[in-house]
Symmetry: C2
Subunit: 260 residues, 2 copies
Amino acid sequence: MASESNRLPVELRRGFYETVFRRRDIRSFLPDPIPDEVLARVLVAAHHAGSVGFTQPWSFLIVRDLDRRQRIKRVFEEERIINAAQFDLARRAEFMALKLEGILEAPLNLIVTCERGRFGPGVLGKTALDDVEVYSTCLAVQNLWLAARAEGLGVGWVSILRNDAIRDIFQIPEAILPVAYLCIGYVEAFPPRPMLEDVGWAKRLSPRALLRFDSWENDSGDGDELARLVEDASIWREIFPPEQWPSERLQQDHHENQEK
Amino acid sequence: MASESNRLPVELRRGFYETVFRRRDIRSFLPDPIPDEVLARVLVAAHHAGSVGFTQPWSFLIVRDLDRRQRIKRVFEEERIINAAQFDLARRAEFMALKLEGILEAPLNLIVTCERGRFGPGVLGKTALDDVEVYSTCLAVQNLWLAARAEGLGVGWVSILRNDAIRDIFQIPEAILPVAYLCIGYVEAFPPRPMLEDVGWAKRLSPRALLRFDSWENDSGDGDELARLVEDASIWREIFPPEQWPSERLQQDHHENQEK
């Protein structure tokens, strides 16, 4: 059967799904250095993301220099104040109590950039949308993030930095877009749930609420088996035998969804 | 050791890396239906991507309706001509000979959208960059793409469609950005190399050429162990024992890089 001939054996699928469900946005790091061999695997995995027209528009700027990281940290502090001002007083206090980055403590910072038109102005797969290469670059970021998790490395994305400041500090030309500023390093532990969920900042949305059917207006999925199954933990039985149930993670998700 | 306490066991890491290296952009599909249980797993994996401020800005529009897909196919044909005009005559002929989508033949189309400010105008992790939620949405796309591959499902991203046309055909409001229009289905086989590499449209870049060190200008990596290792196949020995070497894939990569 077609559906079975190309799928990966169940133990390999389990490896993939474990990586996805155990990945976290990390903001606290151990100082232990990252072996070059491990970082090399993570970068090669990032480089094997798909890209529009096979343009591979990404580059990886390895940031070890502490002086530049201190300058970035100051930019972060400025933007953090701006970010805080977006919230009302109660939420602002909550926001200011959160640790949001590990720029100086992580053994490594890494900037993933995007070069539009790397092979010339014409790009297979690009007409109306100018951002397709940026989208590809984000795919590489996710490969990197997942590979890091598999290797036991935490990754945190610092998303409030200004690109003009990043360009200035790292001499990045105007034609190159800094897409992701990442902190990477080993961690004490990967929390079972996202930190922002744990502290009550936001809740995980029910997957069923994210589905639409053939038209945006049709969000009910009433009677649609798919709408039922995205909230049914039994879909994981094929992948995770009961005694190797991946985590409280999935069970919690299921439990929470049941309550809604 | 920190570096070993949180990493996944080698057989699970292998599952992750196999998924990454075997994923392809697919444009030819078998008509076999996708079991809802399999699609549900793929969607839940997508939903477990990281997102700025845990906003989970994505939605998944499941497209089974053939009328709407025929309208999308016509938009594709218009944009394909525009795309072709970007290339010189020889390359244009090459372009027109390529199969670039499976809109009608795939059993499923799926649109991944992004809703900025889903929980209000203030977003934790968003100040200067308006696109952070779009970046998050792309992370979900990559989770989806990889999960599909693990399940034996091919995914193709049709990136030349106009968003105004997509909005019109699927009644998507102005506030919602269509990010990825995907074709999904089972395949005869996953090619060992990207189609665009196989036909000679573009080459895989050497990973070493994508590295920069502390400053954009410093791209040499001379004497840097990381720069050497990203092109050294021996970094995979820990993950893939020789008899389970994942594919010609990595060996080819290595071989090609050696020739440069």
